[in-house]
């Protein structure tokens, strides 16, 4: 098990080729309210990074910066840089729709569209202008397989997505994101509305995804962060308190605040 200093140094020492997302001195304000303060971190490629912290600490705001989702909020002002594949996504030349296909996102509540399972999965591809049925069929099968849903829905692809269970709907939404072949997948509390078995299925799926993708997951479930992630970032009141390997953080955290939060002494 790495010690505290080795764990933190190895994350700081990542080269640009090893880094999926680099955040440099990122601050974000909504009007006069500061949501993120001077955050810097590097997220390694093909790994799972958990972001933990109390409600309102800025977890969802931070991952919203990774695909510029916060741009949709009025009065949002961003300082600093977010580099995806070594390119600043807040630069003036960034094409935001392309960024969002490169950096997919799944939310807390499963939100399938009111259409068939198949149409849900290929929705993004159709938006991109792909109409070739064979390409769409292959993409749907691949994405549903990756989301560990194919075996359960292959005989009912044209049934409405709404008939699926909550856990299946969430995997369908993940499949919809995966169909666009994003490099990075952002998951904002993806299992908080699911039962324990569906939660474990999603966690198993997330674990498999890191072979091809970089996954960033926001979670309120500390055990989930400990189970699935390779490294964990702890945020409090918009500040990054600690960022280290998950093994280290859950056995020997560096900061007193982290210790207090993960052992339930916060408040």
């Amino acid at each position: 098990m790495p010690d505290q200093s080795t764990s933190q140094k190895s994350l700081k020492a990542l080269s640009p080729e090893q880094t999926a997302i680099e955040v440099r001195n990122l601050s974000l304000r909504f009007g006069k309210k500061t949501a993120l303060r001077d955050i810097s971190l590097k997220i390694p490629k093909h790994s799972i990074t958990a972001i933990i912290g109390p409600s309102g600490c800025g977890k969802s705001t931070l991952i919203g910066c990774f695909n510029r989702l916060n741009d949709l909020t009025p009065d949002c002002q961003v300082d600093g840089k977010v580099l995806v594949n070594d390119k600043n996504i807040y630069g003036s030349r960034q094409n935001v729709p392309i960024l969002r296909s490169q950096v997919g996102m799944v939310f807390q509540q499963p939100n399938p569209f009111p259409m068939s399972i198949y149409e849900n999965v290929v929705y993004g591809l159709r938006i991109k202008g792909i109409t070739d049925r064979r390409i769409l069929d292959d993409a749907a099968e691949t994405a549903l397989n990756m989301a560990a849903l194919w075996d359960e829905v292959k005989d009912s692809l044209f049934q409405p997505a709404m008939v699926l269970s909550g856990g299946q709907q969430q995997r369908l939404v993940i499949a919809r994101a995966l169909a666009l072949e994003p490099e990075i997948l952002l998951l904002d509390e993806p299992t908080s509305a699911l039962d324990p078995i569906s939660t474990l299925q999603i966690e198993e799926l997330i674990f498999g995804l890191k072979q091809k993708h970089t996954v960033v997951i926001v979670t309120h479930n500390l055990q989930q962060a400990a189970r699935v992630s390779d490294q964990t970032a702890f945020l409090n009141q918009g500040e990054l308190i600690e960022y280290s390997k998950t093994d280290t953080m859950f056995t020997m955290p560096l900061k007193q605040q982290t210790e207090a939060f993960i052992t339930g002494r916060f408040g």
């Binding site: 010690d3 500390l222 020997m252 955290p253 560096l254 007193q256 052992t263 339930g264 002494r265 408040g267």
Partner: protein, 232 residues
């Protein structure tokens, strides 16, 4: 990072559970310490009846060990401890086993007192008693270091084990010399040798407990390395 405060959780019940667990280990340590003290008294006075009671009382320690193990398992299953809480529970699992084994070593010394008319000279008996006092003090200090989660004291005690080892080697030479003059009662001498070994092992087990305390407080694993705290 150092954190000795095992309370302060939002869950008051979890605070109580950890506090009770720690107190249970101290109570068990206190029982073993009492038995060691009684054993030394019985050794000095060659009181076989007192030694038999000490052997019988080892059952109390065994029962305490099982209860502490069960409680550790329950806390891991229900509370999912992390960070210092996790280190505390793991430390207690390890200390629990070592303290129970110290109880077994005390029982071994007491058994010698019941079985044998000690053939050793008054000098060896005095030295055995002195070594016993030394390990009693070492064990008492170890329990205090655990109660206070004091890693600095633990490092000092860790170093003190060398004195016990030296004393053991010295006594071994003396015993072997006297054995050669009284070869006809070899089994009794073997009992004495086993008891000396038990005293030396109590020192080693105190050293183990100190290593767990250092791990809990500092998060550094010093087992199986050649760290000499006397040099620090």
């Amino acid at each position: 990072m150092q954190n000795f405060n095992i309370s302060g959780h939002i869950s008051g019940k979890f605070n109580q559970e950890l506090e009770s667990l720690k107190n249970a280990v101290l109570a068990m340590g206190g029982q073993v310490e009492l038995q060691l003290r009684r054993t030394l008294t019985a050794l000095r006075s060659e009181d076989k009846r007192a030694a038999e009671k000490i052997i019988h009382d080892d059952n109390k320690v065994n029962e305490m060990e099982l209860r502490i193990d069960d409680e550790c398992m329950r806390i891991i299953a229900r509370r999912h401890p992390t960070a210092s809480d996790l280190r505390l529970v793991l430390t207690i699992v390890k200390i629990n086993a070592d303290v129970e084994r110290i109880g077994d070593e005390v029982e071994r010394i007491a058994r010698m007192i019941t079985l044998t008319d000690l053939p050793a000279s008054a000098r060896i008996k005095a030295d055995m008693f002195e070594t016993g006092q030394q390990i009693l003090e070492m064990f008492n200090s170890t329990l205090n270091a655990f109660a206070r989660m004091d890693s600095e004291s633990a490092k000092r005690i860790h170093t003190d084990d060398r004195k016990v080892d030296e004393k053991y080697k010295h006594l071994l030479v003396q015993v072997i010399q006297e054995m050669q003059d009284n070869e006809e009662i070899a089994p009794a001498w073997l009992d004495i040798l086993w008891s000396l070994r038990a005293m030396e092992r109590i020192g080693d087990r105190c050293k183990n407990v100190c290593e767990y305390i250092i791990y809990f407080v500092e998060g550094v694993n010093v087992r199986h390395d050649d760290t000499d705290f006397a040099d620090e």
